[in-house]
Amino acid sequence: MGEKIIKLPDVGEGVAEAELVEWHVKVGDIVQEDMVLAAVMTGKATVEIPSPVEGEVTFRHGEIGDVIATGTVILKIRTPGDDGDSDVEPHIAAPQPEKAPEVTPLVVEPKQQPVAEKPKPVTEAASAKPAATSLPKGAGAPRAEGEKPLAPPAVRLRAKEAGVDLRQVPGSGPAGRITHEDLDAFLSRESGGAAAAGLQPNKSVQEVKVVGLRRRIAEKMALAKSRIPHITYVEEVDMTALEELRGRLNGNQKPGKPKLTILPFLMRAMVKAIAEQPGINAHFDDEAGVIRQFGGVHIGIAAQTPSGLVVPVVKHAEARDIFDCAREVTRLSDAAKSGTAQREELSGSTITISSLGAMGGIVSTPVINHPEVAIIGVNKMAIRPHWDGTQFVPRRMMNLSSSFDHRVIDGWDAATFVQRLKALLETPALIFVEE
């Protein structure tokens, strides 16, 4: 009998701690080699901790949501066999790919996929593994139409006596088996709601633990709003000319060229405006009292994913032409949505665009991506009447709602920057003029 001690691995990039987001085992569980034990989250990537050995879990430290320092012992596994398995694993994450199973390979998983369903290579060895690793998921899914409810006789009897049609009861057990607990839950719901008809007050309170990405977002937003006095400036932009140009470019699209949205034009306009006002493309390190103005324009694009807000970053927009920008935006937002974005692709921005497209509304008050100093919010484009001096003409109008860190950017500077963007977007040729 040996004992394997599992420490929170060093997940790289000098991260000293990680948040525990999933436990897959509890004390007393028998684990197989390579079975996922837990998942931790650092930055915006979730990392799974697989078991290096087969054995029984004898110790578990930390609860979901706890932030745990690297190197902390989180699990102990008693291993069968007497082959002198090392008692202590000194540095569990030491990357030695050629001895992969022994050194706990780290698997970066797409965020929104159930981590337990790690696809396994279909090999003889894998299929010969004990059943625990290949249990088919049975729970939760609603029964197919016409399929009989699956319940042990004692549950059936209770249901019958309570007058419950088991077809109405969802089963949480293996293969959708209805358990006594499922029936309890159904009965308590029934007794609450079935008594009276009509509208009923819903007194239920559901507690949702804020963990993982959601917690990251919450912390970031709180930090930005508490530290940064925001000044938000809204201006309308006549996009008619740009839309004409964009339509034409997309119209005779050459193969291999990406379809252009407004974003690449805005990005190139920002590059141009930042060249004149480098103070906008900066980080304000308020603890050190230093503003770092960056030569490179790394534009974060706030994107909604099923698990929450992430901000993939288009690096060096100043060195990309409009098509290159478009290509990169598409690639990154796809990666972010599918959860395959790399850590580097989700950090390092110097300024951010917040765009909700057709959901953009008229005005927004974007929150600055700390420690940046500016964020450009794109509102919805719409045809609106515009007085050209003699008459109203229909024009494609769009608002930009932009926030700035008022500690380091004055209202005048903010206005100047947005007006410059407006001028560039309204006369798009200016975006492409080399000066």
Binding site: K129, A131, P136, A151, R156, K160, E161, P174, A175, R177
Partner: protein, 465 residues
């Protein structure tokens, strides 16, 4: 005679009827049960129990014959074995006697009144019973029809003389030299094998082209093999016609039109059983039929209010344990409990040599409708306990859904495998998955290990094969 009034009247004290009455008595329901013969019905008196007694005696005798012939692999010798079938039958009658007494005792203990005689409906609430001492009228709020079934007779071979039913076979006092069995269903094979072991020259005639048509050939193949080892001649695709004019032989015709003359001292006709739907006044009632059976719903209610039916009279499978479960349910319904028929598994057992057990869906039934299935089969040749019993023939097979490994059916064939039916039924009734079976420790060394191994096999990692 003074009329009896009760809450529940049960007609027939077979497994369905007596269980219903006992349960009703337990629940405080004022219950009367009517039986024209002995309590216990076909099962205890002329069916399940006596046939198993005979099969056991035949096995013991046959083993001794093998020993006497010097063919016993374990080195056991015997000399001049003989069987006194009359004594065997007396021993068997002792068992059935004790059991029927037991049933009477249980009924009395439950406070059930027993009326002996033939019952006949007058109307939906009234039954008249011809007793030894005259007619007894019983009025009841609820009536359960549990009249059972009887062997089917062939018009060309009416029971009597040489032609016997299973009942007759179970009361023979001499082993017939030559026994012809008509029908290769489970009753014919069980008794045919038993008499072959007792020393009869047995010929089985079956009109279909296979034995045990209700089971797939994988399951029946070990039986076919055993029949041939026992020297039983099996004529498939052969129709019996009549007895020869001198009564010496059974005449049959093969599928090719060839005339067969099967010399026989006894002709056992086991071509099925028919529900007893006549002779108790059905014509006085308005009951719907379902083919030759009484139509019932999921609470065993017939078309008439307050009249229930349980057991063989209600349809297939005609099995005692189905009747008992129905009877129990009806008693609880009558006592005011909410119940309905929700069983997933009714195990079926053939006490042939080797035995067959089947619960739930066969592979073909499971595949019906395009369902993806996963099947695991484990042979007894790889089971240590089976080897020590000289019983390596057969296997356990588990049929599951491929998507979630839910067990849909379990079958097995092998010596003594009838006892595994408990585990099979429980697995099905509890909604077990392959992992549940594979994850249960099965005692070593037992034949039940083959069950766990069949599940492991389906999962792709059987250990002992």
């Amino acid at each position: 005679m003074k009329d009896i009034t009760c809450k529940l009247l049960v007609i027939g004290a077979g497994p369905g009827g007596y269980v219903c009455a006992i349960r009703a008595g337990q629940l405080g329901v004022d219950t009367v049960i009517v039986e024209m013969a002995k309590p216990g019905g076909t099962c205890l008196n002329i069916g399940c129990i006596p046939s198993k007694a005979l099969i056991h005696a035949a096995d013991d005798f046959h083993n001794t014959v093998i020993m006497a012939a010097g063919k016993n692999a374990m080195g056991i010798r015997a000399e001049n074995p003989a069987i006194d079938l009359a004594k065997t039958m007396a021993w068997k009658d002792g068992i059935t006697g004790r059991l029927t007494m037991g049933v009477s005792g249980l009924l009395k203990k439950a406070g059930v009144k027993i009326v002996v005689g033939r019952a006949k409906f007058r109307d939906g609430k009234t039954v008249a019973v011809e007793t030894e001492t005259g007619e007894q009228v019983i009025r009841a709020e609820n009536i359960v029809i549990a009249t059972g079934s009887a062997p089917v007779e062939l018009p060309a071979l009416p029971f009597g003389g040489k032609v016997i039913s299973s009942t007759g076979a179970l009361s023979l006092t001499q082993v017939p030299q030559r026994l012809a069995v008509v029908g290769a269903g489970y009753i014919g094979l069980e008794l045919g094998i038993a008499f072959a072991k007792l020393g009869s020259k047995v010929t089985i005639v079956e009109a279909l082209d296979r034995i045990l048509p209700l089971y797939d050939t994988q399951l029946t193949q070990p039986i076919a093999k055993r029949l041939s080892a026992l020297g039983v001649e099996v004529l498939l695709g052969t129709k019996v016609k009549s007895m020869s004019s001198n009564g010496e032989a059974l005449l049959a015709e093969t599928g090719e039109g060839e005339e067969k003359r099967i010399a026989a001292d006894k002709v056992l006709v086991t071509i099925g059983r028919r529900p007893l739907t006549e002779g108790w006044g059905r014509e006085e009632l308005e009951l719907d039929m379902d083919g030759r059976f009484l139509r019932i719903d999921e609470q065993c209610r017939t078309a008439m209010r307050g009249i229930y039916a349980v057991g063989d009279v209600t349809g297939e499978p005609m099995l005692a344990h189905r009747a008992m479960a129905q009877g129990e349910m009806v008693a609880e319904i009558v006592s005011g409990k909410r119940r309905s028929w929700d069983k997933r598994a009714i195990p079926a057992v053939c006490f042939t040599d080797p035995e067959i057990v089947s619960v739930g869906l066969s592979p073909d039934e499971a595949r019906a409708g395009g369902r993806e299935v996963k099947i695991g089969q484990f042979p007894f040749t790889a089971n240590g306990r089976a080897m020590t019993l000289s019983a390596e023939e057969g296997f356990v097979r588990v049929v599951t859904r491929a998507d979630n490994h839910l067990v849909l059916g379990i079958q097995g064939v092998g010596a003594g495998i009838s006892e595994l039916s408990a585990a099979f039924s429980l697995a099905l009734e509890m909604g077990a998955r392959l992992e549940d079976i594979a994850g249960t420790i099965h005692a070593h060394p037992t034949q039940s290990e083959a069950f766990a191994e069949s599940a492991l096999k389906a999962l792709g990692h059987a250990l002992h094969i």
